[in-house]
């Protein structure tokens, strides 16, 4: 628990209330107030319970996988792997996104298949390639059979052991996740704090590229008083195309047939590499959303390699080259027919690309950086299979 101290202090420094009493979370520089759902108010006890649940590996079939396995505080709440590894060394199909600032997301998971953190948190424990529990009832039983949890759930939710549900588990974890908020980066101090020296000259030039020729800001939004660096929308930017190239129609047809027959989307997309690449289409069946994935935030991006929904790019330089080539790693690669109309070749110079990297590095929050040892940021690591 100690390793979380720094992170918790970010949010807790502005908490004003004690156990059981709803409280507000003020936002750090550059971020709006944290949206808190009416039916799941923040309390200190609930947050503490969520913190404990988040780190508890018992909610997996072999007792090895917790939320923190793939969302480790010392890895900026990611796992620094291309694809996340569940129980028994099983690989999923997607790169672990950071939990930092996930409180602001309008939809959860890369394909937005859950509307909120509460819904999201119930899926991984029962996904066959993540926690691997047979069903959510097993999870509930594990809580009910641990006296210290029974006590804590009673204190937080006022329920007896037999009345504990997965929703209580989800509420507590979501409450904890809503405290993992980080702004106040050099960019925030430059943009919103009036400190013109907060960013390097290269980063300032990079911001101009970001807003101009780089066309980044159209999806990674910077607004007048805040910057979430996401539009909360879904775009096909060309990532993952190689996996399903030319087979999209057949994969979509098979997926929809299985879905109509009752197949679970969460389980299918994390187990089936091809179905995974259908992206947002798998959730809403919109023909315009094949291969579209959620715009991820760029805050603390320098601390969360590798990149993209499939972890296929190791470095920020690689990401910028990918965009500069109009949605492909190499200029000679084919372009997906489903490519978003926002993606096109950018003709950036080498200096512009370097400046962009400098800008992206200026999006790191000091509180997060201080928790992530530099030895933890190893790109192209892990020996995972190349997607």
């Amino acid at each position: 628990m100690t390793r979380l101290t720094n992170c918790r202090s970010i949010a807790f420094s502005v908490l004003i209330a004690g156990l059981g009493i709803p409280m507000a979370i003020a936002a750090p520089l550059g971020l709006p107030p944290v949206p808190i759902p009416d039916d799941n108010p923040q309390t200190e006890a609930k947050i503490a319970l969520g913190d404990r649940l988040f780190h508890d590996p018992r909610f997996s079939v072999d007792g090895t996988i917790s939320c923190a396995t793939c969302h480790a505080p010392e890895k900026a709440f990611t796992d620094h792997r291309r694809l996340s590894e569940g129980h028994s060394g099983l690989l999923g199909t997607r790169n672990s996104p950071t939990v930092i600032n996930s409180a602001y997301m309008e939809e959860l998971f890369w394909d937005g298949r859950e509307p909120d953190l509460e819904g999201q948190s119930k899926q991984p424990p029962v996904n066959p390639v993540e926690g691997g529990l047979a069903d959510i009832g097993v999870l509930v039983e594990k809580i009910r059979s641990e006296p210290s949890y029974v006590e804590a759930f009673k204190a937080v939710f006022g329920v007896k052991a037999q009345d504990i549900t997965a929703d209580h588990f989800a509420d507590a974890i979501a409450s904890f996740e809503r405290t993992i908020i980080a702004g106040d980066s050099p960019f925030d101090r430059y943009q919103y704090g009036g400190d013109e020296s907060a960013m390097s000259e290269a980063a300032v030039r990079g911001l101009e590229v970001f807003r101009g020729q780089g066309r980044c800001v159209s999806c990674h939004l910077i607004e007048q008083t805040q910057a979430l660096f996401t539009d909360n929308r879904f775009h096909n930017i060309g990532v993952g195309f190689k996996t399903i190239r030319g087979q999209e129609a057949e994969i979509a047809r098979k997926f929809l047939e299985a879905k109509n027959a009752g197949a679970d989307v969460d389980k299918t997309v994390l187990a089936d590499k091809e179905a995974s690449e259908l992206g947002r289409f798998a959730v809403i069946e919109d023909i315009n959303k094949v291969g579209a994935f959620k715009t991820s935030t760029l805050r603390n991006i320098a601390l969360t390699p590798p990149y993209m929904h499939d972890g296929s790019l190791d470095t920020l330089e690689g990401v910028i080259d990918f965009y500069n080539n109009g949605g492909r790693e190499k200029e000679t690669d084919p372009v997906t027919p489903f490519l978003s109309g926002g993606i096109r070749p950018l003709n950036l110079s080498d200096e512009q690309k370097q400046d962009l990297v400098a800008f992206l590095e200026a999006l790191t929050s000091p509180e997060i950086a201080s928790q992530v040892p530099s030895t933890e940021i190893i790109t192209g690591n892990t020996g995972d299979q190349q997607p």
């Binding site: 159209s218 129609a249 809403i284 919109d286 023909i287 315009n288 094949v290 489903f338 978003s340 109309g341």
Partner: protein, 357 residues
């Protein structure tokens, strides 16, 4: 897919559609005495493939067409065929027509083509006919009589004026608000052909007419217009149920004149009218003369799209697939006896036009 499975799929697809207006549904067709049948077809139009030089073509127009082809191939159950609504080319050159046809060759299933003015006025349709076939014809499909017309002809005096070059004629016809332009028409001989073609069709057979220009008069300066529209409509009047589908206008339009429902196709290239856009690189858009509500200029496909058509008891439901925008459905409403937009028909849901500031 077996018939049983197909039906189950159709119903499921319908439920999905009702929930979220997705273009992924087929409604059953049930009319006439020959028993219920249902079918759909895709409708792609106005790609304006533009040759720069050598093997270089305007990327943006290529991408719009490529995306429509890829998405149409996803339709399940498969559409029975695809209509291409004309203006495959920008200046009617063999390079442009061939390049467009190469992209369309990725479509699964048969394609029926309509002649657009951009395909015609360079060589008066010679290369187009050589590659594609006749420019007006009819066929029957599952109880519906389909008619394809070449509606972009004009007065012979204009067509055969003493032009410096054929390209001059092409560019004059492409120009908007052109005082030296000339209105589109189906023409006497084609109307006579149509009269004979329809003579033996029973009046309760649903008719679908495909043309490039609207067979109704909207705006003459841009040839959103067919000079002999009323005469064509007169030939269609005796039938219980007629639908005209057209391209050319690059936007959603729908109308009801008597027994005839009209629907326009989105272009895969650009929206008309269209907004001024980022001038970050050379623009190939024709000059703006009328303002419109803005499409998002960042997303090059916003304001474009393609559509697929469900035939349902002889009525047409048009499903617009609109990348980076909200998909739309304009469906024939039996109570109101006209096409109705499923989203925006209700006045309280309409979005007022924006001004540019």
């Amino acid at each position: 897919m077996s018939q049983m499975n197909r039906r189950r799929f159709l119903r499921t697809g319908g439920a999905v559609l009702a929930a979220s207006s997705l273009p992924f549904s087929v409604v059953e067709l049930a009319f006439g005495q020959s028993g219920p049948e249902d079918f759909s077809f895709a409708f792609i139009s106005d790609s304006h493939i533009t040759h720069i030089k050598g093997d270089k073509f305007v990327r943006n127009w290529d991408r719009g067409m490529i995306q429509a082809v890829a998405e149409a191939n996803l339709l399940s159950p498969r559409p029975d065929f695809v209509f291409y609504g004309g203006d495959i080319a920008q200046l009617g050159t063999p390079e442009e027509i061939d390049h467009g046809l190469e992209i369309l060759s990725g479509l699964r299933g048969d394609v029926h083509h309509v002649m657009g003015e951009h395909d015609y006025y360079l060589d008066l349709g010679e290369h187009w006919r050589k590659r594609i076939g006749p420019d007006h014809y009819s066929f029957d499909h599952k109880g519906v009589h389909f008619v394809v017309l070449n509606s972009i002809l004009t007065y012979d005096e204009w067509t055969h004026r003493k032009w410096d070059t054929p390209m001059q004629r092409m560019k004059e016809m492409a120009r908007l608000d052109n005082p030296d332009g000339s209105p589109f028409m189906v023409g006497d001989s084609q109307r006579e052909w149509l009269r004979k073609d329809l003579a033996n069709i029973s009046k309760d057979t649903p008719i679908v007419v495909m043309s490039h220009s609207p067979l109704q008069k909207i705006y003459r300066g841009w040839n959103f217009w067919t000079e002999d529209a009323e005469q064509v409509q007169e030939l269609l009047k005796p039938f219980d149920k007629v639908t005209v589908l057209y391209g050319h206008v690059h936007q959603i339009q729908y109308n009801q004149i008597g027994n005839i429902s009209f629907h326009a196709a989105m272009a895969t290239a650009w929206p008309w009218p269209y907004p001024e856009t980022f001038v970050q690189e050379a623009s190939y858009l024709p000059k703006l003369t009328v303002e419109m509500s803005r499409a998002d200029p960042f997303f090059e496909r916003d304001g474009t799209g393609w559509q697929f058509i469900n035939m349902h008891t002889g009525d047409v439901d048009v499903h617009y697939a609109l990348p980076d925008n909200e998909n739309r459905v304009v469906a024939f409403n039996e109570q109101q006896d006209k096409p109705v937009d499923s989203l925006y028909q209700d006045e309280s849901k309409q979005i007022p036009p924006q001004d540019h500031y």
